[in-house]
């Protein structure tokens, strides 16, 4: 049972956690903070939070659980803003899509309270954002990954795990660097590729025809590219190393395919396409293995 939950960032991710815990009767009181006055009022009106805090200090003052759900670029500022105001027993967790950068920022700001910080990543989302996008069922049957490090307090990890389980999520622990690579491969890189394609086609003179005859392949790319730009900017900068390493590998593959198209090397194309299809059909198609979420 959480007595006072502080949600920093009351959008889709933060708001949905609050709604899920309230629905379960697992929290006495939720206080929310957001930089924008509009988001705070909206979250209050929608019953996502019981109280809007005017500052980070006020939000965390007597909270026993703090969930930070702001774009990754704003995490360091939040850690700096709460460090001096934390309740000694408070547990802190977050929802950032890449963990190394967040852990570095937390370690630097929180000092000896760093051990009460449990890095987390709920793998769920929709293309929508903001308080009005939040709903109690967002995490139901989705995965939440926790990436505690050597000096993370194991009791804190257990409490964060229990909190997420109440939302209906399956909770896993994973090595931090491994998490960042896996997410770069399955989410960050696909988003970057899709943003580039959609942006490029949108600039064409014949854009209307491109849309009129757009087939399935493009529709999928287009859906990916409608995600929040600030969030993805921060993810790209926050998980830079892993994304750049994969992009390098991706380019090598593309160069080889491009050469085959230019040279009319059908045997090579057939080999690459068949391998991808086989991999997908035999393993990737297992619905149990692929999370039904956006981020």
């Amino acid at each position: 049972m959480i007595n006072r939950l502080a949600i920093i960032g009351v959008g889709l991710i933060g708001g949905s956690l609050s709604l899920a815990l309230k629905k379960k009767g697992a929290v006495n009181e939720v206080v929310g903070y957001a930089r924008s006055e509009e988001a705070r009022s909206q979250a209050l009106e929608l019953g996502i939070i019981d109280q809007a805090a005017g500052s980070l200090a006020e939000a965390v003052a007597s909270a026993d659980m703090i969930f930070i759900a702001v774009p990754m670029g704003a995490m360091a500022e939040v850690f700096d803003g709460i460090a001096e105001h934390l309740n000694p027993e408070a547990i802190i967790t977050d929802g950032g899509s890449a963990k190394s950068q967040v852990v570095d920022a937390a370690r630097q700001a929180l000092g000896d309270k760093f051990r009460q910080f449990v890095p987390g990543h709920p793998i769920a989302g929709t293309e929508k954002s903001g308080p009005s996008a939040a709903f109690a069922e967002l995490y139901q049957d989705h995965r939440v990954v926790l990436t505690p490090v050597a000096d993370t307090d194991s009791a804190a990890t257990a409490r964060v795990k229990a909190m997420w389980q109440l939302t209906g999520a399956e909770v896993f622990e994973m090595d931090l660097a491994h998490h960042d690579t896996v997410l770069a491969a399955t989410s960050h890189l696909p988003h970057v590729l899709a943003f580039n394609l959609v942006g490029m086609l949108a600039e064409r003179d014949d854009c209307d025809d491109v849309l009129r005859y757009a087939a399935g392949g493009f529709r999928d790319f287009s859906r990916i590219a409608s995600s929040d730009a600030v969030m993805w900017r921060d993810i790209c900068l926050g998980n830079r190393e892993a994304i750049l390493a994969l992009l390098e590998q991706y380019h090598q593959g593309m160069s080889r395919i491009e050469k085959a198209i230019r040279d009319g090397d059908g045997a090579y194309l057939m080999e690459v396409f068949a391998r991808a299809k086989k991999a997908r059909d035999s393993r990737f198609a297992d619905p149990d293995l692929i999370d039904n979420s956006e981020v």
Copy 2:
């Protein structure tokens, strides 16, 4: 009304046309030819065709309408095989996803009967292939593009148009080169990018984790990459120029994004991502503009 329809290639595309026309009572008799004996028997058993021909010559001998629905790499061979056996009044059309190569092959093989060939592209499909994947409603509310050239007989174009309209499709005419560029942009390029990503991730040692935590972005790529490898090999080779030109442009965009990630240039990333999101949300999201199909 079609008296004798010849379907060359009795898979998803050819089989579905036959089933749709039969359902409408718009054809007296359907004869089918496929290279594989198994596909021919299956098409007979499924009622897709009334008669299986043992050769291309036999298939087209007394047909008044001929639909060629084989992978693009096999089109030239089909034109060569039917040219001498065509009924003088026969109209020929096809379902190839890129038109320039098909038109060149038809012109070369058909001689003065070339004017009875109406190049076409039904923009519809699923990830599945083969006779068992065919169904009468495949073309319902989908688009079919015809790309007649200067010497195409306009009466032939009108008959092919009327045939497709009976399937419930909307039929458009488009300039051939323009068609090939638009399809490269909206279908061929996305498929190549997806095949590369899925193939690359399938080779990783941590592939199982990649799958276990795969989020929405990857699921969309994975779905695209499960399409038929032979078909996509042939499309890549058949629409080579348009695909290579777009790939060049795609790489330029990716290089710029990659540099921004490396340099920590958040302003540039924000600009590119926001532009793509805006384009998608304001124009691409119109369901009426985006065809619900695969190819």
